[in-house]
Amino acid sequence: METKYISQGGMAQWFESIIASGKRVYAPVNSRGQVDFKLVKNLSEVADDYIQTTQSIKASVYPKAEVLFTYEKDHGKVNLSDFDPETIPETVLWKVHPCDAAGFKPLSAIFNWDSADKLHNAHLVKTSVISFSCAKADQSCFCTSVNGSPGNTAGSDIQLTVLPDGGAIAEILTPKGEALVALLPPVFEAERGDKKEQYLVDLPARFSLEEVNAKLNKAFNSTVWKEQSERCIGCGACAFVCPTCACFDIQEDVHGSKGRRIRCWDACGFALFTLHTSGHNPREHQSQRWRQRILHKFSYMPDRLSVVGCTGCGRCSRACPVDMNILEHITSIAKQ
């Protein structure tokens, strides 16, 4: 790991050289009143004044819908063609928030905890993350309560901390980051002794993970789930904007004798998610599904995968049509 300084002009040149290298670059773009990651060609397209993109960067390593393999039926026989990792292009994610980059760890923990997930890993290998530390936050943000921080470098290949002069402190964190620097080394100047912490938003922790975890261990039969979930309308908005939610469905797309098997996003909040063919549903009520969401992130994942399933990005709270605020709910569980 190495720390450098990059000037505002240098950053623009470097961005151009990344584009020129042929890699796909995704960055937050403000369009239709929303800021979201989009394919960009110019730095001028990148959004400036916002707290958080609506969607996370999850889709870069876990697409909304992806072909697992294709097949062709031929007189009772079937020919399979496997997913080819070579089809995944090199991708650079520009201006990722630390809470998003931190989401790669829990996501990969789910996909690889037992057997390796070829598709997810293929995306991961081809994806480089250039994160920008956070100088701003809103009342939905709580990364500091879930092992994160506005300057957390986990999951980033390079982290930039923007300075008042428009330049930035550049922390080069991984070989992938070094490879990006190597596209235009001269713009990375010797560091000037800037203190990164000075430029980060101050975000006090709101609860202690250990405390929450301890409370949740005994909370399965608590009435809190019913109380908190009464207004939940059971959509999948929270899960789909979440950087770590990984529940999926496997479906078939058929056209005549040809077909493809598709993995697509699903959500534990949907009523039919766990429905058996027999009609029996182990998570029949919204309260049970809300409990699953919280326990999975804050109890099951820490216990089994040694990683908390929440990065404190606050997206679910912002996206929820009925104001199911995760920070509010977790804080109230911690206080019980």
Binding site: R32, G33, Q34, D36, T54, Q55, K64, A65, Q139, S140, E230, R231, I233, G234, C235, G236, A237, A239, F240, V241, D249, Q251, D253, I262, C264, W265, A267, F270, L272, H285, Q286, S317, R318, A319, P321, V322, D323, N325, E328
Partner: protein, 266 residues
């Protein structure tokens, strides 16, 4: 506000109702509140910011239980309640409806006839946002509309917040969950997203009360509420109903007239 809180507390204390669905202050804006005892009635609010359509909860059996309950309803919620009543989803015996009228007076509706009379005073008008986007769309060529909507549809990730937020989407099994045949692909892709939204609009013909809950719920900001709103506006004169008021002669697609338009039929 005090009148409303006092009345709700009294209703709950008397046991006249077991639950009152209303609004409380939320973290961003007012949100639904479920009062089951008179203490929680102190949290109740009711003002112009309360536009979440609470009618979405009144058909949820596990929530409202078997006993009589009440709902504090702004105009959009009242319209949906009427439509649900027309569709035999509600009964007067089970539901008490409260609202605060334009003069700040608390009103109680015991019968749906009373709600109907009250709602009839309010004309359905496009708001600023609706007018802005719809007039833009109305000015487009067909090709431009296709491009516009396909662009919008490419953002949909099928979280079904639109369906969940809609008081009139109360089917226990939605068409998207039918897999024999698989009418609509479960994964998001522009075409299957469009099929879903066209399907939703078709199921809403003559039923949608243009409350805007679907568009408001959409986390990726697709103005889906305008699809059903435009349908309502365009088809109301054709099918003979008044926008925002339930059709007296039955739902638009379950009835017909001998002289329905047919110049497009060869």
């Amino acid at each position: 506000m005090k009148k409303l809180r006092d009345r709700v507390a009294a209703l709950l204390d008397e046991g006249a109702v077991s639950l009152v669905i209303g609004y409380e202050e939320g973290t961003k804006r007012p949100r639904p509140l479920f009062c089951r005892n008179s203490e929680s009635s102190g949290k109740l609010i009711f003002d112009s910011r309360c536009f979440h359509n609470l009618a979405v909860y009144v058909t949820k059996k596990e929530l409202v239980g078997k006993e009589r309950f009440a709902v504090t309803a702004p105009i959009s919620t009242l319209r949906s309640i009427l439509q649900l009543y027309v569709e035999n989803q509600l009964s007067e015996e089970k539901l008490l409806v409260l609202t605060v009228d334009l003069n700040g007076e608390l009103r109680e509706f015991v019968t749906f006839e009373e709600i109907s009379a009250y709602v009839a005073q309010f004309e359905m008008k496009r708001g600023e946002r609706e007018q802005e986007i719809l007039s833009k769309i109305e000015g487009m060529t067909r090709e431009e509309r296709w491009k516009f909507w396909m662009g919008e549809m490419s953002h949909c990730f099928k979280c079904y917040a639109c369906r969940s937020a809609c008081p009139l989407c109360y089917c226990t099994k939605c068409v998207v969950e039918v897999n024999r045949p698989q009418w609509i692909n479960p994964w998001p892709s522009p075409i299957s997203n469009m099929e879903w939204h066209v399907n939703r609009a078709m199921h809403m013909v003559g039923r949608c009360t243009a409350c805007g809950a679907c568009g408001d719920a959409c986390p990726v900001g697709i103005p889906i509420d305008l699809i059903t709103r435009k349908m309502m506006e365009d088809l109301a004169p054709e099918f003979g109903y008044i926008p925002g008021q339930p059709a007296k002669q039955g739902n638009a697609l379950s009835s017909w007239k001998l002289d329905d338009r047919e110049q497009f039929i060869r």
